[in-house]
Symmetry: C2
Subunit: 285 residues, 2 copies
């Protein structure tokens, strides 16, 4: 990030070069890992599904007793201005809200708001064709409904993921599947139901959009998913802002279904792309 000399960021009241965006070490993110964030895509210089991401951002802040220093209207205007300044038509925008400069290193103060924009690489056709190999780990996030900055477990598991030549790790608690560190999990059952966990998961914006799209063509259900269910599934996939819909072909060394990306998965990816296109076209220039 330090080398992006022409990119601007927003910090509290000011737009400034990203390379000059610093927080004092008394910030509660540094002292106590305390903060929330959100992240959305920009395509053709337009933010996608912005209202849904902002809703969740304000919701996460509320769950962590933090107040976003800007109204939703002012935040939208700030985002629009940042997009104009940076000229990064295909990118991701991240908003981080921390516990602020704490006087005693423990109690939250006036939050610091950071907004950064970075070029974004979406999965390539080759990555989609290959699909993902994943492992599993028994863990549930502390406050699953909030998008907090706490990724200690996911980051610690990076080495294990690499050692097992996998692409990601799926959390479960006692065999009941929840989510990936940064994505939601779906499977397609033998009777062609599109199923995703409903408890202890982050309510992903892409998850919600894919559920709605699935409901137009298939049986669709939010409910309990177990590791055993994966063994019996036809297909599995993950959803996220940056990954869209990405097939999962292997779990803990065992193939999912045929061991190749499935037709329902690929259909939903196509549908999601179409939804994104439709939103871009619906926007006034």
């Amino acid at each position: 990030m330090l080398s992006d000399h022409n990119t601007f960021a927003f910090l509290n009241d000011d737009f400034l070069p990203l390379e000059g965006a610093f927080l004092h070490v008394s910030d509660l993110a540094i002292q106590r890992g305390y903060g929330v964030f959100d992240f959305f895509k920009v395509q053709e210089n337009q933010p996608l599904f912005l209202d849904q991401y902002l809703n969740r951002f304000y919701g996460s802040a509320l769950l962590m007793d933090l107040e976003v220093p800007l109204t939703e209207e002012a935040l939208k205007a700030t985002i629009e201005r940042l997009i104009q300044m940076n000229g990064l038509p295909e990118s991701g925008i991240k908003m981080i809200l921390t516990g602020g400069y704490s006087a005693n290193g423990y109690e939250p103060a006036a939050p610091n708001l950071i907004i950064t924009q970075q070029p974004l690489t979406l999965p390539s056709p080759e990555q989609i064709d290959a699909g993902l190999r994943i492992i599993t780990h028994d863990y549930v996030r502390e406050l699953p409904r909030a998008k907090t900055i706490n990724y200690s477990m996911g980051i610690r598991l990076l080495q294990q993921v690499k050692a097992q030549q996998a692409d990601d790790v799926l959390y479960h608690r006692g065999g009941v599947v929840t989510e990936f560190p940064r994505s939601n999990f779906f499977l397609v059952t033998k009777d062609h139901t599109v199923l995703t966990p409903d408890k202890d998961v982050l309510l992903g914006v892409t998850r919600r959009n894919v559920l709605e799209l699935a409901g137009r063509h298939y049986q669709m259900q939010e409910g309990t998913v177990t590791l055993e269910d994966i063994g019996r599934a036809r297909e599995a996939f993950m959803t996220s802002t940056t990954k869209r819909v990405l097939p999962i072909v292997q779990v803990n060394g065992a193939p999912v279904g045929t061991g190749k990306p499935g037709p329902v998965t690929m259909h939903l990816l196509q549908e999601l792309r179409a939804l994104e296109e439709a939103q871009l076209k619906a926007k006034p220039d």
Copy 2:
């Protein structure tokens, strides 16, 4: 912290005014709450039990796959220099090691090391006489043996603690007691055994010292402690670097023992102070 104009901090390679100690927003503590820390007391310009704290700091870093950029010898020399520069004879020193300036906001890079020194207020005689009233909450830290910067739960519970006019919150998992967000828990049983939880707790330096002192005068045990055990206990207390030994007189509204600081608690506080004095005297000037 921003107003301490005459205090110096250490950041990576440099001593600099604390007010000028900043991290770029790409640091993994800000992006993902990823880091470890430790904290020790300075009395009469001498660090107390420094070897034990440094051992734990290097241990926490290892558990989180972070490398402390200084050898233990170099770190000690840096701490000595900071103490000389700041002239804060009664103070606390905090070392924070973060995941560093991550290129992709997720994978750790070269860690950032921050060392700050701040004046310290120890419990007053009145606070010790009054003792603490505490509540309980079902929660266990993700990686209890590591002193990570993740205090989301403890900080979120601050409002609940205040609303119930309590002083702190004790974690348990299904009735099995572990620790406070920033302190260890002890009780004195009916048969005068000094007992502290052994599983899923941070191995406090003060905890270890108090256990050793207790072993000289009483039965001493590390083992399972339940919420029911507290109801049957004679005394209870917490230990921490800043709190030393602090009596607990009430748990969830019910008195512990007589509802006043107990003799074993007060004896162990006296013994701990004596141990601190002895360490100060043993040091070469």
